[in-house]
Each structure stands twice: as C-alpha cells, then as structure tokens.
C-alpha cells in the first residue's frame, strides 16, 4: 500500500509544537498502511479533546462525537457493520473521566474494536486541569496544592475486568508503538492501547524525559496470558512497563449477536421481512 494513502493535504493542525500527538498520528498512519487497511473500510471514532482531533488529520471515515462517548458509538458502529475496522481514539480525560462508565462496560461487552488512548496525564484543551491519570504532585490552577485523588490506573482496571487485550505504549518510541498498535488492531476483541505522551504546555512533571526514565519494555519471557502477572505489572510502582500486558482471547460482542449467525452482511443492506411481520400481527387475533 502507498505510504501516503492516509495523508491529507492542506490541513491546519491545532496541536502545540512538540506535542506527543504528532508522533501518535504518524504511528497510527504507519500501522494502518502496513496492515493495508482501506481507508473507506476504516471507521475512526473519537470524543473531544486535543487527542480526539487526531482522526481529522488523516483519511478515514470519522465519527467525532461527544466528550467521553466514543466507546458507545464505536460499539454500535461495529455492531451494525462488522466488516469495518473500528478504532476509538481519544485522550485520558475523555476515555477515563467523562467516559469512565463506558470504558468499564465496553471492556465487559468486548466489541471487536481498538481503543487508543493518548495519556498525557493532564487536560490540554481546557488548559491544564488535572486528568484522572494525573499524579499527586501535579499542581494546576485548579489543583493548587497538587492532586488529592488517586490516579486512575486504566491497565489494572482493564485487567481486573478480564479485558481481551491490554497494552501500554509510549509516544516517544515510534517503531515499538506502531507494532503494538498493529497487534491491537489485528486482535479480535476489545483492545486497549494506553499511550504515554508528553504535554509540553501543561504537564511539567511527566515530560518526554520523565517517560524515558520511568518506563521499560516487558521482555520475551513475559507470559501475556497470565492475568495475575499482568495485574502485578499493571500496578507496579517505580518504573512503568511498556508493551502488551495481557491477552485474553474470547468471543466478541458481534460474535454473539444473533443477526450475524447466518450472514455477516451489514444491517443497512438487509430488507425487513414484512411477510413475517404480517404473520406476527395476525397472530394477535388468537392466543
């Protein structure tokens, strides 16, 4: 596939210079190109925030919905047309804060979608308030003495819900992250990729350097299918592990829908059986 398949011309990108979003955008485009995904068969779904603008900057079908609500929309899009590749992409505030309940239930439901979360541990678009993943040390114009609430740990939550695929990546490592993304997209079931990313404007604690110094990659001896081990890794303090933490193959939401038991045809191509409905109506003349 042409390396420029997903490129768009003459676009005005709204991100700050040096933002981690740029490299994530590059990685996603490369992953999609290497997987030879046809842009017309790809549906990106995003919420609101700086990260949620990313799909505006490459060629794809796009549902840019409400803040926090990308997962319900993505689940439905996949459910009505399972032939599409569906990726929900948004930030930590959108996915884990406003959309926290949907995050939990999307994992339980296990639609065959990929969930890319740009995690810079701060709110960008609303100018620097704490996000659910902000560390205690982060002082902001609102959290003037630092963040009191415990940082949200998306990986341990996902693993505790026995998610199908859980990974963490870093925006500074293009090759490794691209490979993780490819595996997540190919994975059958809900796949979470939480991507650590610097915010050059509002987060002076979790900087590019900080992420470099405080992360490490899981090695080949790590057992991807061991849930207890994955939970330990997800809750490790000190340095944060990068890579795929947990894979749990299981039936997807769409697999279990009776509408696809005989045909995989998307719903919009189907005709309603009015004869059958007439029979149902007429059956109400008796018991």
């Amino acid at each position: 596939m042409d390396k420029k398949t997903f490129d768009m011309e003459n676009i005005d990108i709204a991100w700050c210079p040096g933002c981690g979003n740029y490299s994530i955008l590059t990685m996603i485009k490369r992953a999609l190109t290497e997987l030879e995904i046809d842009p017309t068969q790809l549906a990106m779904v995003s919420g609101i925030g700086q990260a949620a603008k990313a799909p505006h900057y490459f060629k794809c079908n796009l549902f840019n919905g409400l803040h926090g609500r990308s997962l319900p929309a993505a689940t439905a899009i996949k459910a009505v047309n399972p032939n599409l590749t569906v990726i929900a992409e948004s930030g930590d505030g959108c996915t884990y804060g406003e959309g926290g309940n949907h995050f939990i239930h999307a994992i339980r439901r296990n639609p065959n979608i990929t969930n890319i979360v740009h995690n810079n541990m701060v709110y960008g678009l609303t100018k620097g308030q704490a996000s659910p993943t902000s560390p205690h040390e982060l002082k902001t114009p609102v959290q003037t003495e630092g963040v009191f609430a415990e940082p949200f740990n998306p990986l341990s939550v996902a693993i505790s819900l026995d998610a199908s695929f859980v990974a963490r990546a870093f925006a500074g490592d293009i090759e490794q992250t691209k490979e993780i993304l490819k595996k997540a997209i190919l994975h059958k079931g809900y796949a979470l990729v939480d991507i650590f990313q610097q915010c050059v404007t509002y987060n002076k604690i979790n900087t590019f350097r900080w992420f470099k110094d405080n992360t490490y990659y899981l090695d080949d001896s790590y057992d991807l299918h061991d849930r207890i081990e994955a939970f330990k890794k997800a809750t490790e303090t000190g340095k944060y592990p990068l890579g795929i933490l947990y894979i749990n193959p299981k039936p997807t939401f769409e697999d279990k829908l009776s509408v696809y038991s005989e045909s995989k045809e998307p719903l919009f191509k189907r005709e309603r059986d009015m004869g059958k409905l007439t029979e149902l109506i007429e059956s109400r003349s008796g018991f």
């Binding site: 842009p39 017309t40 409400l66 899009i77 459910a79 599409l84 059958k276 018991f287």
Partner: protein
Amino acid sequence: MNHEAGSKFIDDVSIVLCGEAGQGIQTVEHLMTQTLKLSGYNVFSTQEYMSRIRGGNNSTSIRISSKKVSAPVNRMDILIPFGEGAVKHVSKRISPDTLIIGEEKVFKDEYDGSNSIDVPISQIAAEVGGPIFANTVASALMLRLFDVDIELFNDYLKKRFSGKDESIVQKNINAAKRGYDLSDELLKNGRIKVLIQHDPLVKKEIIMDGVEALTMGAIAGGCDFISFYPMSPSTGIATYLAQHAKEFGIVVEQAEDEISAMNMVVGAWYGGARALASTAGGGFALMVEAVSLAGMLESPAVIHIGQRPAPATGLPTRTEQGDLFFAIYSGHGEFPRAILAPGTIEDAFYLTQHAFNLADKYQIPVFILTDQYLLESHYNINGLDPYRIKPERYIIETDVDYKRYKLTQNGISPRGVPGYGKGLVVVDSDEHDEEGHITEDMNVRTNMVNKRLKKLELVSQEAIPPELIGNQDYKTLVVAWGSNYSVIREAMGNLGRDDLAFLHFKQVYPIHLSTTDYLKKAEKTIIIENNATSQFANLIKLQTGISIDRKILKYNGLPFFVEEIEAELND
C-alpha cells in the same frame, strides 16, 4: 336499594379486578381479554399499579361492550377483590350499583353495602389443588357470565400452561369447570343478567396494547437496532424487540446507562442501521446531550419517550403528558426535530413506522411521545397493515469526492455510510465544513446553521394535519393531543352536542399550518391535557399566537375517565 332482585348489565360492562402485586391480576386480565375477544366481544382493559413487585394494591379495569371501546370509565359494574384491602383501594369508584363478587371474608371489613355475592373461590381452589388455582376459578366465573365456550377457555389454559406438568393443566381445567358451575347458579337464579352483543367479526380482530403496537411499528419501520436502559413504562418495547430479535434481524443491547444508549443509537445510524431509543422522562434526561449530537451530525434518530409523572422519579408506574416541552427543547443549540404523539393503538403502530422514514428523510431526531396509559391499555382493532407505509431508504453509495454536508438547495445533503462506496463519511460534533471536518470559519458556521434550520420548513410542510371530529360548524372547539384521543371522542359522542367539535393532534411539533384556521373559527376553545401547566396550549400559543380559553387538566397520575370529560364539558 334491594339488589336481591338481581344485577343487569346491558351493552357495556366495566369489571375491575383488584389485588396485590404478584397475585396474578395481569394474568387474569390477559386471559379474560383474549378469550372474550375470541368470543366476539369488544374489550378494553387498562391497568393502574404500584411501583412494587409484591403486595400493595393494583387494579385492572376491563370493559366489555356491544360496540368498540378504547377508553376507561370510572364506573365499576362488577368488582372482583382478590384480597384484603382491594375494596378499600377502589372505594371511591364504588356506587350502590357496583356488584362485588368475591369472598366475603376479604371485604367484609371494607364494605357495608348489600350488593355483593359471596363465592367460595379459595375453598374451590383448595379442593382442586391449592390456592394457586383461585385465579382460574375467578376467571371462569366471569367468563361464564358472558357465555364464553368452556372449550375455548380450556384451550387457552392448555396453551398457557404448555410445558408444565400435565396435572397442572388438568387442575386448571378442573378449576375452570368449577368456576363455570358456580356462575351457572348465579345466572339460573337470576342474580346476574348480562346482555352484551357479540359480533363474529370481532373474533378475527387483533388485540394488543400500546407497547406491542409501537414495537411492531418499529419493526415495520425497519428498526434493526435498539439500545436502552430499563425504565417504566418503556421497558416493554425493548423486551418485545429482544424476543423477536432473531426472527427479524435486530440488535438489542441493554446499555450501562441512557447516555450510552443514545450515543449507540446515533452511532448505529451512522453505520447505516435504523436505530430506536426508548425510555421515560428520567432516562431521556440523560440522553439529551446525544440528541443535540444528532442535531449537529444531522443524524436521523427515533426516540420514544413513555411519559410518566415527574419531576425526578415521580410516580414511576403512573401516567402523565408532562414531557412535551422537555422533548421540544431537549438538547443544547438550535436544530430541527419532529414530535409525534399517538392517540390510538393504530397510531402507535403507523406513527412509529412513519417516524423512521421521517427521521431518515430529513436527517433529524423524531420523537414519539406516549405515556403509561397508552402503552399499557389493550383493546381489539381491525388489524394493522405494515405495507400501508412504504419503506423509504435514503442511504446513497458514495463516490470518491463525497461530502457529507454538501450544501444543497433544500438543506438536505445525501447521506452516505462508512464502507459503502468510494467516499469517506466524516461527521463531527464541532461545527464542520462540507466535508465534515472541524472548522471555526464564521461564514461556514452561518451557512451550516441555515442549512440545518431550512429542514424545519420542510418538516413543517409535511406535518400530519390535526383530525377534526364532530360538527364542522362548531362553536366550542376541544383540543387535545396524544393518548387522550379515545376518551374525549367517547365523551363527546355521549354528550351528542352539536355546538362542540374535537381537534386532535398526533403530530404536536411542528404543528400543521391549518391549526390557526381551526382555532380562529371557534367562539371558545378548551384544552384537555394530562399535565398541570397545559403545555400543549402553551405550544399552540407559541406557534399560532392564539390563547386557549379554558383548560381541563389532570395530573394525579391517572388517565382521564369518560365521565370526567363529560362532566367537565357540561360544566
């Protein structure tokens, strides 16, 4: 009054069954309405019940009539109390003519009148096999009064209890026989006389409640996706779709909350499905953000709100027409919508079917406003024709330079879906350009607002006209919307006054352009609504500038009775 001479019921009898939740009142209602209809009687039934699973007091009113009936009456001709507290629960509706048939021991402390017949229902049930058979004995007793063939009743029991132990079926049949014997005596000694006409044509008619009709209308409208969170009185719609999901190819998903449900509905339409959201006012409160999303994305959406008394949790199992303004103003920002309000079981079917075409054609949210009363009332109707409204599909195959929000003369941009054609379908909750990409260009903004609002004119031109019932040369015009159709119609029929006419709206927003002329012609106008602030009258004022003279409002959680409307209109 000496009732020993006997009670006579001519042409229209109202039977009320009253008992605790969990005692099987609904089972008896179902059994009676089905078998009576199959015997050629016109029947109507409606329920009022408490928000609990066991205990309390619930009642079902069944009308059996020589002519078609589809509205409740306050009058109780026969009351069947199923336990202590039942008579007290409906005491306000008891008149000297109300005949109580039941076990004296359950009502002796609550009733001092003489018009009752003591029947040993629990004794017979015990003899047949246990207290569980009491409902069958009581039903049989009633059905015999209407000369329902015992074989028909037995067939019903066999069907109802199929899959259960053979002895259960047999015991029910024995219970039915004993109930019939009991009734035979009452008829023989002249204590009760029933003179209701039955019509062989009614036997072939269908009988259903608003839930079933609305759901079948959704199926007819091509609905293939519903996401919902359970909430009375709307839950039945999703349940019914779930039970027929496989048969018709429908995705039914119980969401984590109504926020998710509505976002799924908008997502499903984007993916090409015809999706339905169904909830009550409180659940809809959580959906409104995504209603606004549908407005911005120009996504079709069909939203059913089964109204119940609010604010907040209100009276969860009762009825009201209190969410009209809520539906009209739901969602931040300005965007077009249409609001339909079925008045009958037939309307519940055809308007829901129509809603899917309307939403798809104009790419707008279309609301269907019902209420607990309409959803949970049953009556017999001639039939429903799913072919009457043609399915209209508006999805196009996109080409390579497709623009989702292409500016057109009438404001409607052809709607593509992802994966169908060579184009890309981009939709955005931000203000967007023709391609669907985020923009802050003020000229584009103005053009897009104009484009969206232009569609309201078209929706307005296609509005369903109100129905005028009664004398064309009226002096007084009674105005109502939605589920009050039948009760007002019957009351006006009874009054037989030629100075009165009735104007009923099944589309309440935007209202049809003829409304002004109808209102101007009247010397006096009266609104009848099940709410406290006459929302529709206010809406009429907003849309026509005309004030309604008099308001008849009820908001205690119950629907209007025919007699109430008659009395109010004669006032």
